[in-house]
Amino acid sequence: MRRSAYSARTGLTELVMITAAVAFVFPVYILVNISLKNPSEISETPIGLPSTLYTDNYNRAWEAASLGQALINSTVITTLSLLLLVILGSMAAYGLVRGTRRINGILLMLFLLGIMIPLQLGMVPLYEFMRDLGLLQTYTSLIVFHTGTLLPVTIFLYSGFIRAQSASYEEAARMDGASSMQAFWKIVFPLLRPITGTVIIINAIHVWNDFLTPLLYLGGSQFQTLPVAIFAFQGEYATSWGLIFAGLVVAILPILIIYFLLQKYIIQGFASGVKG
């Protein structure tokens, strides 16, 4: 009913919103614009379009910031963390929701508590722990870190979804002699696909964009992730903005491409994820 009529007022709203959107994306325009300009043009006319496309920034940034390696590092760390989160998180949520002992409820509360605890509280002891195990400057440290810290939200999402599902399919499978593991992976897990999508989207953004812990664990090593590489790169090249911005564009391009391809699912994922 509210959508049907396109009145003069709707037209005015449209005009105001388009103006607001142009102002809103202006910083991103500047980002791309500067990345394609040579240094003298950047200082003279930062806002106008480049007279010629200066792609040299991209070649140099790619080499100087080792962006290729950082891209690989971020991809490996994000993929393996997500794999562990989906496997361990879905299993744990299933066990906690379908279990009947009192301990299940207590453990679920313990996991959910983790959504609230700021990482800062355990940051030093965890750093020492990783150092003592010799895991600093390895992929493993960061994958274990992300898995541990994102399990609470993952279990929160899975447990809400599983609780709303009937147990009759897996009961039937168990009657037919399937073990609880078989029943889970063959019957239950495929039914969790919608929430698995949400879990992947929300956690992927978090892992990919995370900064402080990758800086502490991997900073200065060949294993550093994109945000850390970008930060180090900016520190090194201070005000060579064309170069730095080319690096920034490379760092956000994978996210933007996936976002524009899957925007409907991603927005839905966030909306349903935060609703829990």
């Binding site: 009947t100 355990g122 722990f129």
Partner: protein
């Protein structure tokens, strides 16, 4: 549905560890839907090692003078007394609260306005939703570097202001200690307002059209139907939006670390930043842990207040 679940669980009562060992006929019948606790163990081990154990030892360190190495002695509340008299930490506490309170109000209002506008019949609504949400997906570090450039004195923002004849508003955006905190906050709101918008859009789409029809039959105008239908129906969305903004602003680190490093002076210091500097730069682990514990208490207090308010509100409904 609930009935199915509870009958299933009733059949499995008493199941769990060790049930596999029983193989009498009765045991076989009962274990049909039992889910072993072993499903939970791998997740529990990692969670325990990465979150629970370090958090507990962090909380203990907060009451010691530990500076790395093997010697640490218990100092009671000394770290916390020091924390309140240290201008850096006291400033961080104040800034963190300001960013949280002001940021929450501004971002919630702007997010709601965006959602209302983009839930109307305008033709560009899908494109605009995509654009407004995009920054929320990008790394805060990238956003911070970008805005650091935009804020350069005589840079892009000053030039834009000049173009519109507002040159008098030009500032040393990140260098003036009475403006810097608000410059940082503007970046955070710019980046995250799209997430608030998405939460409100989901809330708006969950309101049945019949409610608006009924309101208009009762003679309610736009404002009246907003106040009596939209506002109460959006209460759950507000709860979630506010909680997310508050928790993320309380822990704010990346943007200040990159854009200002806490300066000028202590003007943009936050609790997370102070904790990082004390622990990882200066090696004051005990003191850093105390700052982290204060942050944890703030988050816990906030969640408690919010749950209480939400409960009361839901009872009223």
């Amino acid at each position: 549905m609930t009935a199915t679940v509870s009958s299933g669980t009733a059949a499995a009562r008493g199941a769990g560890f060790g049930l596999r060992r029983g193989n009498s006929a009765g045991g076989r019948r009962r274990r049909v839907t039992a889910v072993s606790l072993w499903f939970v163990v791998p997740a529990l081990v990692i969670y325990g090692l990465v979150v629970i154990y370090p958090s507990i030892s962090g909380a203990v360190y907060a009451f010691t003078d530990w500076r790395g190495g093997s010697s640490a002695s218990f100092v009671g509340l000394r770290n916390f007394r020091e924390l309140l008299s240290d201008p850096k930490t006291a400033g961080a506490l104040r800034n963190t609260m300001l960013l949280t309170v002001v940021g929450t109000v501004v971002q919630t209002v702007l997010g709601l306005l965006l959602a209302l506008a983009l839930n109307s019949a305008i033709k560009s609504r899908n494109l605009l939703r995509t654009l407004f949400f995009a920054p929320a997906l990008l790394p805060p570090v990238v956003i911070a570097v970008l805005w650091q450039y935009l804020y350069t004195p005589g840079g892009v923002i000053d030039r834009v202001l000049d173009t519109f004849g507002l040159g008098a508003l030009s500032q040393n955006w990140l260098g003036n200690s009475s403006v810097a905190l608000w410059s940082v906050l503007a970046v955070i709101v710019w980046q995250n307002v799209g997430l608030t918008m998405v939460i409100y859009l989901a809330g708006l789409q969950g309101i049945p059209d019949e409610l608006y029809e009924a309101a208009s039959i009762d003679g309610a105008g736009t404002m009246a139907s907003f106040w009596n239908v939209t506002r109460p129906m959006l209460a759950p969305a507000t709860t979630i939006a506010v909680a997310l903004i508050m928790i993320s602003n309380l822990k704010l680190f990346d943007q200040v670390f990159v854009m200002t490093g806490g300066g000028p002076g202590y003007a943009t210091e936050t609790l997370s930043l102070v904790m990082y500097k004390e622990a990882f730069v200066l090696g004051h682990y005990g003191y850093g842990a105390a700052v982290a514990l204060v942050l944890t208490m703030l988050v816990a207090a906030l969640v408690f207040v919010q749950v209480t308010i939400t409960r009361r509100f839901e009872v009223e409904q």
